[in-house]
Amino acid sequence: MRVGVITFPGTLDDVDAQRAVRYADGEAVPLWHGDHDLKGVDAVIVPGGFSYGDYLRCGAIARFAPVMQEVIEAANKGMPVLGICNGFQILAEAHLLPGALTRNHRLHFVCRDQWLKVENTSTAWTTRYDKNAEILVPLKSGEGGYQADEDTLKELEDNGRVVFRYVGDNPNGSRNNIAGITNARGNVVGLMPHPEHAIDALTGPTDDGLGMFLSLLDTVVKA
């Protein structure tokens, strides 16, 4: 399994994302924002950070990077794509996922270990979880409030496209406590919390996040 991990100017979490891929017995392939090809990878992770300094809006400039044109085309053909934190913001700006991420409702940057409920276990990235399992992974973001219009929320809820939901106190004002969603096909997933920081109890709060990368392994092997 070869998994591309994109680095934009200002990306922070590409190294941990690459490490998570290796923990799942995959080969991590670094992709640069200026690349015009995906180097034959089986899947792509758009990691967290502050691409292009979060100028204009989070993800608004990254979405037009050359490598993202390749990602958009591949995602629309069914390639598994995961956006974490800033990566989720980029996928939303790129219209691969509906809605938008806005300033946290209490304005503070939130940095804490966060319980999530896994509600969709049929996406390319979540098959290893039990339905409604609760997992503990870090959340660290200032603009993580998920917003979408009523029709979009209904579409997501009615079709099981809410993949992760915050458990307990809503950390950022996200509509319906939404932490992560998928596209209709289930190959593209975006979430604000950081599974790649929770793959080993030595370095994270749990290893609950590793399941996402093992799920991808299953998806790629089956493809």
Partner: protein, 79 residues
């Protein structure tokens, strides 16, 4: 050259915590009577004369604003 102003505002139904924080600070500073504040963005573009209105609209809709959460206006002004 022409000057074009693009104003981008959060949609009315979208929570604007930054505007609320500004509104909440005003009474503490001794300014009474301001009942609400909405915070947006103001862009000033210097554009060549051959850039038409359709192109300006596209710039605003696809890049300067996010139509999911923001409204915008485009207007040409005297430089």
């Amino acid at each position: 050259m022409a000057r074009v102003v693009v104003d981008v505002m959060p949609k009315p139904e979208i929570l604007d915590p930054q505007g609320q924080a500004v509104a909440n600070a005003l009474p503490r500073l001794g300014f009474d009577g301001v009942t609400a504040v909405r915070q947006g963005k103001h862009f000033e573009l210097e554009v060549a004369d051959d850039v038409d209105d359709a192109t300006l609209a596209k710039i605003a809709e696809t890049f300067l604003a996010n139509p999911v959460i923001e409204d915008w206006t485009v207007r040409r002004v005297e430089a």
